[in-house]
């Protein structure tokens, strides 16, 4: 982390379509360790929001507890944030979304928060297909309590403490797929070129969009024998077909880079372009599950967009709630009044 962020901004800073500069999406200064992968994810979120032109105050940031869950302070300073209790971010996000389905919700969690204490809530928010972006900053260890193994630590992986982890790792992408998530991706905090378009696509998706971001812990789990260290990840990473995200407002020209062969149109008309990949069909859940397994068997980490259901129906749609945010309804909309109550009294005699 840099100790003091300069207040100076170039007077001609670029603005996006909504007239915001990148600075409008920044948050407070990070207090994480220098070189922490999480700061790259925060920066990726800032880039994605800036490029998409979302209104900062129409986004809510929600997190649980842990290093990752501290990060919502470090991006989107004009948005409301809620740092809740350990492993329970999904329920708070669910309630917030039920109250107002018009806003965007970004949930930030970690591997301890989502794969251990919050595994239940993670699974259930996925199967409810809540309209939110759910990012796990996955470093395979408990950073804030000084480096214990987590449930996503791979078998045999060694953290700074030096003992190989004996327990099977939980693959959150595989779980999310199995439980009905309608957008599943994996990325690496060191690969912003891939991460930023993934976040943009996730924010545009209408339903539960999950991104598992491998985000190394420089202090406790960046050893040569750790499978979540920078070195190991760089050596073993393999991306699904390269992807690009085209927001709905952009003019779609015919000048795609050669090789883009698949187009997926999302709910509001934005488009994901994918390079052809023979092995993976991103609109087929089974194909995504097989691809993850095959790469895992070979000791490789498959990143990129794994699955998307462009026809996804989110929780509000399933629940048939009114279009207007529930929180904006008033007495007139909600209270049936004295006459109806008298009729009910009559039925209770």
């Amino acid at each position: 982390m840099s100790y003091v962020r300069p207040a100076f901004r170039h007077p001609e800073s670029k603005t996006n379509a909504e007239g915001f500069t990148r600075q409008d999406y920044e948050g407070a200064l990070s207090t994480l360790c220098a070189g922490c992968g999480h700061d790259s994810v925060s920066s990726g979120i800032v880039d994605a929001c800036f490029e998409l032109g979302v209104w900062p105050h129409r986004v809510a940031k929600i997190s649980g507890i842990g290093c990752s869950s501290k990060t919502p302070t470090y991006f989107l300073g004009k948005s409301h944030g809620f740092n809740s209790v350990h492993g329970r971010m999904p329920s708070v996000a669910t309630g917030a979304n039920m109250a107002n389905g018009e806003m965007a919700y970004i949930g930030i969690s970690g591997d301890g928060d989502s794969a251990s204490i919050g595994l239940g809530q993670f699974g259930h928010v996925a199967r409810r297909n809540l309209n939110m972006v759910y990012i796990v900053e996955n470093n395979g260890c408990y950073g804030l309590t000084k480096g214990q193994d987590s449930a996503t630590t791979d078998v045999g992986s060694k953290s700074k403490k030096g003992d190989p982890n004996p327990f099977e790792a939980i693959d959150l992408c595989a779980m999310a797929l199995q439980l009905g998530a309608t957008f599943v991706a994996r990325s690496f905090s060191g690969d912003k070129e891939q991460l930023v378009p993934l976040i943009k696509a996730a924010m545009t998706h209408n339903g539960f969009a999950f991104i598992d971001v491998i985000s190394p812990c420089v202090t406790f789990n960046n050893t040569p024998a750790s499978s979540k260290g920078y070195e190991f990840v760089r050596d073993h990473i393999e991306a699904t077909g390269k992807m690009d995200f085209v927001p709905v407002r952009s003019e779609i020209t015919a000048n795609y880079e050669p090789g883009f062969t698949k187009e997926i149109t999302l709910h509001y008309g934005s488009v994901i372009h994918l390079y052809k990949d023979d092995k993976l069909d991103c609109t087929d859940r089974g194909s995504a599950m097989r691809a993850i397994q095959e790469h895992n068997d070979k000791g490789r980490i498959l990143t990129g967009l794994l699955y998307v259901d462009p026809d996804s129906k989110d929780f509000h749609k399933v629940q048939q709630t009114v279009k207007q945010p529930l929180r904006d309804l008033d007495e007139e909309d909600l209270c049936p009044g004295a006459r109806a109550l008298n009729a009910i009294n009559g039925s209770l005699r």
């Binding site: 919502p72 300073g77 004009k78 708070v92 309630g95 039920m98 806003m103 929180r327 007495e331 009910i344």
Partner: protein, 617 residues
């Protein structure tokens, strides 16, 4: 042989097998008495089971209007061989034992001080019906028909109830009335009708209604503007949410689109349920969950967050017998301390304590105003007795002029016109309650970070001890403000001056009022106070100060409300005596009266029965 003689004052208890369809026949029985203008109070005593275990339905009939359990049984209707020994044993001398005499009564069960009335229910059904389910279901309707003859239920009232229940299904109406006739005619032919205990039409019910407390809580939530509901099924709270959905489907549908003006999520557990409520409250929607003791324990961490981060939330706690799984289908008031101080650290919560369905309705609607006004969780403390039994009460009332109190929430315009820096936890008004903003209100003013960690007045994270203490002191000041907003206790003065009193709350109300009358008749005059909320209003402290000795009635072992009063009102513990009743059954007036008399050293009132396990004075 002695014969109990009584008009419109008696207790009848039905003994059935769970899952045999007895509930609707028994409910029809109780409703018919209510329709005859006689106050009635049924209690469903059921097992944690779907089919096969014993279940009872005890009905208090009281022209005088006593609605609590009295104690003792005058008529037993025994349709369950499993519990027959207990059912005949519990009968008062001179009482009536109505049983299925298809098989002769076991000689060992015979009592020569009770009247046996045998109805060959199984035989009648075998002759009339071919299907086994019909034989089982109509058995219940037949004994109701027999009772109509035996105790003078107006047959036209029963017919009217059958018509209403099976409206539009003529075949079912006919077959049910036929079954009623079968029982009625058999009893007329074989017994001298009516027996000593009987009914006479009165006009003692007025415009009163009869409903379950859970139903009333749900309706209060509909009227109070709740839109987000999250829950996990748990007896005895389940019917709160089911009832909310029932009413919302009728009353909360957008006429244009047919869409819902509410959203219900069945959560994965109680932790998620309260998490959703807090998320919705933070985002400005009125939201609630309903649960019982085990759920309250699970919600403790989140309740602490909502207290500390100051997020409105409403929880309906329908208490049951604890600890642990306890007796899951029996009643108690044993979550008082757990709710008042739920969560670690210095935490306190607002409790509302209703005592009848009307108050359930009112306190439910009020809880949303209070949660918004105080920006904190409000827990409504009902229990299984109040929640799951039909309780008679005054009709529900809604003031058309009433507006929701959304508390201190800054609008976009207010933020726009604000010249000073906005501080989420800045006590501008000096009442401990700060101004909050909702996500998405203003493009660049009013955003803040909500957290369970310490922060300063501007919602900025801090571990600076002075800032932490300032915040905790302000939260304490807010709780003082809460005292002024709580519903006042209900105080009832004795006919003669006295320095002795009793304190009770919640579902103990009816039995306590009857006990007071019994004691007064025996010359023991007591002032009485019914608690309705925590934190305690000044009136509560004053009442305690004005008396020398006070008995606090608790339906739990540890006298939890007594302890809460001692802690919070700094009372000399010696001054507060205790009567506790916690065997899982609603307490009885006779039990309360005899124990209170003993506590005050008055021997005038003699208990009708020996002390049972789970009762102490």
């Amino acid at each position: 042989m002695k014969r109990i003689e009584s008009v419109n004052e008696f207790v009848i208890r039905f003994a059935n097998v769970n899952g045999t369809g007895s509930a609707s026949a028994n409910a029809m029985f109780a409703k018919s008495i209510f329709r005859m203008g006689i106050p009635v109070s049924p209690k469903n005593i059921f097992p944690s089971n779907i089919q096969g275990l014993p279940t009872w339905y005890e009905v208090r009939v009281s022209e005088k209007g006593y609605l609590g359990r009295r104690g003792g049984v005058d008529i037993a209707v025994s349709v369950n061989p499993q519990s027959m020994a207990q059912d005949i044993g519990d009968l008062n001398p001179g009482g009536y034992f109505i049983y299925d005499n298809t098989k002769p009564l076991d000689l060992r069960l015979h009592r020569d001080d009770v009247h046996l009335i045998g109805l060959p229910l199984t035989d009648i059904c075998r002759e009339e019906y071919t299907e086994s389910r019909q034989r089982q279901l109509f058995k219940n309707v037949i004994y109701v028909g027999a009772l109509a003859a035996l105790i003078d239920i107006e047959f036209s009232v029963l017919k009217e109830l059958v018509d209403e229940q099976f409206k539009g299904k003529e075949k079912l109406v006919a077959s049910n009335i036929h079954a009623l006739e079968l029982g009625y005619q058999y009893a007329l032919k074989n017994f001298e009708c009516p027996i000593g205990v009987r009914l006479e039409r009165r006009d003692a019910v007025g415009d009163k209604i009869i409903m379950e407390g859970n139903d009333a809580l749900a309706l209060g939530a509909v009227y109070g503007g709740a839109t987000v509901v999250a829950w996990y099924p748990l007896t005895p709270s389940t019917s709160v949410v089911e009832s909310f959905e029932k009413y919302a489907k009728r009353l909360r549908i957008d006429p244009g689109s047919g869409d819902r003006r509410y959203c219900v999520a069945q959560a994965e557990d109680e932790l998620a349920a309260i998490g959703m409520v807090i998320g919705a409250g933070w985002n400005g929607a009125r939201s609630f969950t309903a649960s019982s003791g085990p759920g309250l324990s699970l919600m403790a961490e989140f309740l602490g967050l909502a207290y500390f981060a100051e997020v409105p939330a409403v929880l309906f706690d329908i208490q049951r017998a604890g600890p642990s799984t306890g007796m899951p289908t029996r009643t108690q008031q044993s979550d008082i301390l757990a709710a008042a101080y739920a969560s670690h650290g210095d935490t306190k919560h607002v409790l509302l304590i209703p005592s009848d369905p009307k108050e359930c309705f009112e306190m439910s609607a009020d809880s949303f105003d209070l949660a918004d006004r105080l920006q904190t969780p409000v827990i409504v403390m009902s229990d299984l007795d109040l929640g799951m039994n039909d309780n008679m009460c005054d009709p529900l009332v809604w003031d058309e002029e009433r507006e929701y109190d959304r508390g201190k929430v800054l609008s976009k315009e207010e933020l726009e016109n604000m010249s000073e820096r906005y501080g989420r936890y800045l006590d501008v008004d000096g009442d401990g309650i700060c101004y909050r903003t909702l996500p998405g209100t203003h493009p660049d003013k009013g955003a803040f970070f909500t957290r369970g960690t310490s922060r300063n007045e501007y919602a900025v994270y801090t571990e600076f001890g002075e800032a932490y203490v300032r915040n905790m002191e302000r939260l304490a000041a807010k709780f003082e403000t809460a005292k002024t907003l709580m519903p006042k206790p209900e105080i009832r003065r004795a006919k003669k001056p006295t320095s002795d009193g009793i304190i009770y709350y919640g579902s103990s109300n009816s039995a306590s009022l009857e006990a007071l009358d019994m004691l007064e008749a025996d010359g023991l005059h007591l002032n009485a106070m019914r608690l309705r909320a925590f934190p305690f209003a000044q009136e509560v402290v004053d009442f305690i100060d004005q008396h020398e000795r006070i008995v606090v009635i608790d339906q739990n072992r540890d006298a939890q409300m007594r302890k809460l009063l001692i802690i919070e009102c700094e009372v000399d513990p010696k001054k507060l005596l205790s009567y506790t009743h916690y065997d899982g059954m609603p307490m009885t007036a006779l039990g309360a009266a005899s124990h209170i008399a003993k506590l005050f050293g008055s021997s005038n009132v003699t208990p009708l029965r020996k002390k049972k396990a789970g009762e102490k004075a």
